[in-house]
């Protein structure tokens, strides 16, 4: 369990996140949605241990403030929005950096094959020998995900669940790879790990999430299952957008079509 209790985050003198309560249990895919500037990324950075915060964040029952970087690295991996690379590493070398944390969870000796397996997962087979800096933005993002997967390859290690923290994992991907990546994250949760993702696409969030947190002006505005959260009034209030939420017939998964706004505006 990653559990945040009454967490506030300041950057400089400005308060970005106020009194956020948050839980992500093993086996769950939890997404965080909200308009630009609502504090999603700042909150996620606090959850990742990158920023100082007031309140409490615990991972696996341990106070995060007392954990060393390597201890954190062995139970959670973080995918950044974008990562620039200072030197001309090959794709394989970048992915292998995920093993720096040292506890992939596979048998010793298997580590050597892990980069190839991770690359195959993100649909980048055959890219191992390419130079990272020469790839497109979307390909780079998938390489980074492969690196992150190497770090916490086994969703559960020594009985302890591990976590994937993803900051807009599909922002620069085409539709096929959006689904590939979302499936990887959901699969990670199904196998006993936890997945936390910031998403902008509310439809993807509705399709994949067990729970959704909606952030608005630095606070958690709502939380619950996609059906609980994605309601006309909440969308209108938080996103300031007059959208109609529909339901997909067999399962009742909510979805939104931007056409309804386009029509009213026209």
């Amino acid at each position: 369990m990653i559990e945040a209790t009454d967490v506030s985050v300041h950057i400089g003198a400005k308060r970005i996140v106020t009194g956020a309560d948050f839980q992500a249990a093993p086996g769950e895919f939890v997404s965080i949605v909200g308009p630009n500037g609502s504090g999603k990324t700042t909150f996620l950075r606090a959850l990742s241990g990158d920023l100082g915060y007031e309140g409490e964040i615990a991972i696996g029952g341990r106070d995060m403030k007392r954990m060393k970087p390597w201890q954190l690295a062995s139970i959670r991996a973080v995918l950044p929005q974008a990562a620039t690379l200072a030197f001309p590493f090959t794709v394989r070398e970048v992915v292998k950096l995920g093993l720096t944390a040292g506890r992939s969870g596979v048998l010793p000796g298997e580590d050597e094959r892990l980069p190839e397996r991770a690359l195959a997962k993100v649909d980048l087979e055959g890219f191992a020998g390419r130079l990272y800096q020469e790839l497109s933005g979307g390909e780079q993002q998938r390489v980074q995900l492969a690196r992150v997967l190497c770090q916490v390859w086994a969703p559960v290690l020594d009985g302890a669940p591990r976590y994937l923290i993803l900051d807009e994992p599909v922002s620069s991907l085409d539709i096929k790879h959006q689904l590939v990546i979302m499936n990887i994250a959901r699969d990670f949760a199904r196998r006993g790990g936890g997945a936390i993702a910031i998403l902008h696409d509310l439809n993807l969030a509705a399709m994949y999430s067990d729970r959704i947190y909606v952030m608005h002006r630095g606070r958690i505005a709502a939380t619950g299952t996609p059906t609980d959260v994605l309601r006309d009034d909440l969308i209108a209030r938080v996103f300031e957008c007059d959208l109609r939420v529909n339901e997909l017939p067999p399962s009742g998964v909510p979805y939104l079509l931007p056409q309804s706004v386009a029509r009213t505006a026209g």
Binding site: P80, P115, A128
Partner: protein, 362 residues
């Protein structure tokens, strides 16, 4: 994909994109090259003294078969010079590689960004004021006073540079280079002031020191700078994994479990110590720190686990060759080695800039 596999030059079967086999091979080659060059340097000089003869003489214990003059030339002139050359070459190249890793930028070099100038200011301070204001320092540190002062000068410059050029874990190339120019100029101005107040004997010391030369290599100098440089070189491999992680940025390095702040502190102290010790005994020898790691990255990739040891070996080779050139090109006189490395390194630096012109347009 198949053609890339066919292209792989090494017979070692490694997965595509894994350059560790090639890197290990390169390290072995550099080591072999260093042995050959070092032995060559021992035997090569103005005198026809034979290094082999002297060594054989030592081994067999035949005390009189080799003239005493040859023994002195080999043991007390050439050998210290070769050892000092290797130490300084290795130290400058590794410092360059570590700084580039720390600043996440292939253009960072102790000479270019003012660290050497800062170390120089420390050294000049001791030479000029060592008998006056700084007498207690000279007395307390003995032969280590000069390298220690240079270390402090280098450390101060590196710290200021890092503070100025890095914001929220991101280093601006342009700011780093410009701040380096400013700091170098400031250290130069302060050094100039010290030179201005120096007396005649100090001026002579300064001139010899400033030329950048291995000519005055003695066992004493090795005793003064050697341990510091050796310690830095031994410490550098422990930074390798951290620097690899850092190339993805400070935040990601932290996510990978790297204690980023400690890594930066150790790297800065290590660079300052290695550069300080080198500058203290050999003056300003430029461009080794930028040329060597850059060539190696082209050959074996940027993985610091291989780049750092390979830089040490190739840096040592390069400086011995440069020293051989400086000794012979205007024989019987000697050209300061700093001139040789600058003559080769400066055009090389321009070439790097031309290849990567984009990175300065920030």
């Amino acid at each position: 994909m198949t053609d890339q596999v066919m292209d792989a030059p090494s017979a070692l079967r490694r997965p595509e994109g894994d350059r560790s086999g090639r890197a290990r091979l390169a390290i072995l080659l550099c080591a072999a090259m260093l042995v050959v060059i070092a032995i060559g340097s021992l035997g090569w000089g103005a005198s026809d003294a034979s290094a082999l003869g002297v060594v054989l003489d030592m081994v067999t214990g035949g005390a009189d078969s080799v003239p005493a003059r040859d023994r002195i030339i080999v043991w007390d002139i050439r050998l210290p010079r070769v050892i000092l050359g290797m130490l300084i070459g290795a130290s400058l190249a590794v410092s360059g590689a570590v700084m580039q890793g720390l600043f996440r930028n292939p253009l960072a070099d102790p000479g270019l960004v003012g660290v050497s100038a800062g170390a120089g200011l420390g050294a000049i301070g001791i030479i000029v004021l060592g008998a006056g204001v700084l007498a207690p320092v000279s007395a307390a540190f003995g032969i280590y006073a000069l390298p220690f002062a240079a270390f402090l000068g280098g450390l101060a410059t590196t710290l200021i540079l890092y503070r100025v050029a890095t914001r929220r874990g991101q280093t601006s190339v342009a700011t780093m280079l410009l701040a380096g120019i400013a700091l170098g100029a400031l250290a130069g101005a302060a050094s100039g002031l010290l030179v201005y107040v120096a007396d005649d004997r100090q001026l002579r010391d300064l001139t010899f020191w400033n030329l950048g030369s291995l000519a005055g290599a003695t066992w004493t100098k090795i005793a003064a700078a050697g341990p510091i440089i050796a310690l830095s070189l031994v410490a550098s491999p422990f930074l390798a994994r951290g620097l690899n992680g850092l190339s993805l940025g400070e935040t990601t390095a932290h996510h990978l479990g790297i204690p980023v702040q400690r890594l930066k502190n150790v790297a800065i102290v290590m660079v300052a110590a290695a550069v300080g010790a080198s500058v203290a005994v050999s003056g300003g020898i430029g461009f080794v720190g930028i040329v060597v790691p850059h060539l190696l990255r082209l050959a074996i990739g940027p993985d610091h686990r291989y780049l750092l040891p390979a830089s040490a070996l190739l840096g040592a080779c390069l400086l011995l060759v440069a020293d051989a050139v400086s000794r012979t090109i205007v024989a019987p006189a000697e050209l300061p080695i700093g001139i040789v490395t600058a003559a080769v390194g400066a055009p090389f630096f321009l070439w790097i800039l031309l290849r990567r012109r984009g990175i300065l347009d920030l």
